[in-house]
């Protein structure tokens, strides 16, 4: 394991095409180890495409994706996951016909369900214990998101990619997720997270990168961006610095 603060993941000059569309136009992004990096930007800026490119679900046509010193840009998705990257996609990717338990069993690929780890997850998300034997398709949106995150953390990962976890959720559930994310940070895991809810982003983020039109247009610390309403307005189109969490 390397030291906190050194770069765990870096993208340089990444171009991604989806079919005939050129979506990412040379993305440069650094994710420091042990920190939570927020990826912000308006809808359609290319945040999800960036996440999917890291996971190998889209292949970068040009540029490098370095993870722990290795270029993973040409690897297949399962091999990228096996390097220690866990992914919570924007649509959550729940297996709805499987039970919560079965979703978790599949996620615990290397060593099976670990009781201690599971207890920790139950403490973060009590709903997981309650709905353990339910078909996951019958969970509410918030519970599905909790399952998606639980799945990503049932085995320790080096890097967690989380794409808009609060999308469409009620404020109370967003609070619960925020607390869980803070607790996750305590474990020292590195997180790259996309979030539209700026109040939440400001609360949990350490560093920040802002995208627009398939490029990174700003990087810095969250504290700096959180304090600078003018910068927020310019980068994110936010009139009110506090947001509405």
């Amino acid at each position: 394991m390397g030291e906190t603060g050194e770069t765990l993941l870096s993208l340089s000059g990444v171009h991604t095409h989806i079919g005939q569309y050129h979506i990412l136009h040379g993305v440069d992004l650094e994710v420091p180890r042990g920190q939570l990096t927020m990826l912000l930007g308006r809808n359609g800026a290319g945040k999800t495409t960036t996440m999917r490119t890291i996971m190998g679900l889209w292949q970068a046509r040009q540029g490098a994706v370095r993870f722990a010193g290795e270029d993973i840009a040409r690897l297949a998705t399962p091999d990228i996951a096996r390097r220690g990257i866990a992914y919570v996609p924007e649509n959550m990717g729940i297996f709805g016909t499987l039970t919560v338990e079965e979703n978790m069993v599949l996620a615990a690929r290397r060593s099976g369900l670990n009781a201690e780890r599971l207890d920790w997850i139950y403490s973060l998300f009590p709903a997981m214990r309650k709905f353990w034997r339910w078909p996951a398709g019958q969970l509410s949106g918030g519970q599905k998101q909790m399952l998606a995150i639980s799945r990503a953390i049932i085995e320790p990962a080096e890097l967690l990619l989380v794409d808009e976890p609060t999308k469409g959720l009620a404020p109370t559930i967003i609070d619960a997720l925020a607390e869980a994310i803070m607790a996750l940070k305590q474990t020292g895991v590195t997180i790259l997270m996309v979030e539209q809810n700026f109040a939440l982003a400001r609360r949990v983020g350490d560093t920040v990168a802002v995208m627009d039109d398939g490029k990174i247009i700003h990087t810095g610390t969250m504290a700096e961006l959180g304090a600078d309403t003018a910068l927020q307005g310019r980068l994110l189109g936010l009139d009110i610095g506090g947001g509405t969490a």
Binding site: P78, G93, G96, W134, G137, L139, G142, Q143, T172
Partner: protein, 344 residues
């Protein structure tokens, strides 16, 4: 906080109940069809005989279609060449029976069944191996291109048919069933043909085994998860392409098993056996819902029953009965009887 979670539970409950009814509705179609058919048929012995014939036919179709629906569901692969495995399995199975002649034609039913078992295993092995070759040479180069898949897998089917003609000759091969498997038990006027009973038993066992594998084993869970969301399975670190090759081989082996069973049912095989039953196999998969084993099972039974009832009630319509059934089902459920997913 705790109220939120309870809200979630309450919100989930009605959906659970609705889902329960919705799923059962599909299951009820089989008994409803059988009961409805009784009205015009009128006579219990005739109805019983037709029903057994329909179930036997349906279960043989299920055997051929069950793996193929997973191939569809898992990798979006349209394999029109599945008929090649059906025909090849039938020919290898029949050749095995010929080689086992004394055993197969002996007067002891245990010997007959042993010969059938060996022939079935040979058919499955041969079809499974052919399936692996097929997957590697024909299917893999065209992942993601449906039109190319249809054309090239059809081409593969024609090539295999021609190979069968080269190896076994152009004539159809008669394959009489042994004495012990001819004839029938008559119970209350209902003719229970022995071979049909055997086909029904085998089909039911296979359904139960497939269900157990899909619900109780890790591989089965992965297959179901992959049918729902392939990308997520890969994001969890599983190499789904390897899983798919395994599923393809099993589907092919089951095609071969169905082929030899169908051949013995007709007591004759031709190189075109596979191509001719593929129409029914495809309709089964479409009616059942792509990727759903339960749906495939129900659809196969519906097709087998409809085929036999219609052949009796309106012989002129019997060729089109499966198509009519498909139209009716798709008007009711455009996605097929059961949907294995929703998230992709």
């Amino acid at each position: 906080m705790s109220t939120t979670r309870q809200e979630g539970a309450i919100a989930a409950e009605p959906r659970n109940w609705l889902g329960f009814v919705r799923d059962r509705a599909a299951y009820f179609t089989v008994p409803v069809l059988a009961l409805l058919a009784f009205l015009p048929i009128g006579s219990l012995p005739t109805w019983g005989t037709l029903t057994l014939a329909g179930l036997a036919m349906g279960l043989m179709i299920f055997i051929m279609a069950s793996g193929l629906t997973l191939v569809f569901g898992l990798m979006d692969v349209l394999n029109f060449g599945h008929g090649a495995m059906i025909s090849f399995g039938a020919f290898v199975g029949v050749s095995t029976l010929v080689a086992l002649g004394p055993l197969y034609l002996s007067s002891g039913i245990e010997m007959n069944l042993l010969a059938l078992l060996i022939a079935a295993l040979a058919a499955m092995l041969a079809a499974g191996v052919l399936g692996l070759v097929f997957e590697r040479l024909i299917v893999r180069p065209v992942y993601g291109h449906h039109l190319k898949q249809i054309l090239i897998t059809m081409g593969g089917l024609i090539v295999v048919e021609q190979l069968i003609i080269v190896l076994w000759g152009p004539n159809e091969i008669p394959i009489p069933r042994p004495q012990n498997l001819k004839g029938a038990f008559i119970v209350g006027g209902v003719v229970l043909e022995k071979y049909r009973l055997l086909a029904v038993a085998l089909g039911l066992v296979l359904f139960v085994v497939l269900r157990l594998v899909l619900t109780r084993t890790r591989i089965g869970l992965l297959v179901r998860a992959g049918v729902e969301n392939r990308e997520m399975v890969e994001s969890l670190g599983y190499r789904i392409s390897i899983l798919f090759i395994g599923v393809f081989a099993v589907a092919s082996a089951l095609g071969g098993l169905g082929g030899i069973m169908w051949g013995l049912y007709d007591e004759v095989i031709t190189a075109h056996l596979g191509m001719s039953v593929m129409v029914l196999v495809f309709i089964t998969i479409i009616i059942g819902g792509l990727g759903s084993i339960e749906g495939c099972f129900i659809a196969a039974l519906l097709i087998g029953l409809t085929n036999n009832y219609v052949a009796y009630l309106a012989p002129k319509l019997s060729l089109g009965s499966a198509i009519i059934l498909m139209v009716v089902v798709l008007m009711w459920r455009p996605q097929g009887l059961l949907q294995p997913s929703g998230s992709r």
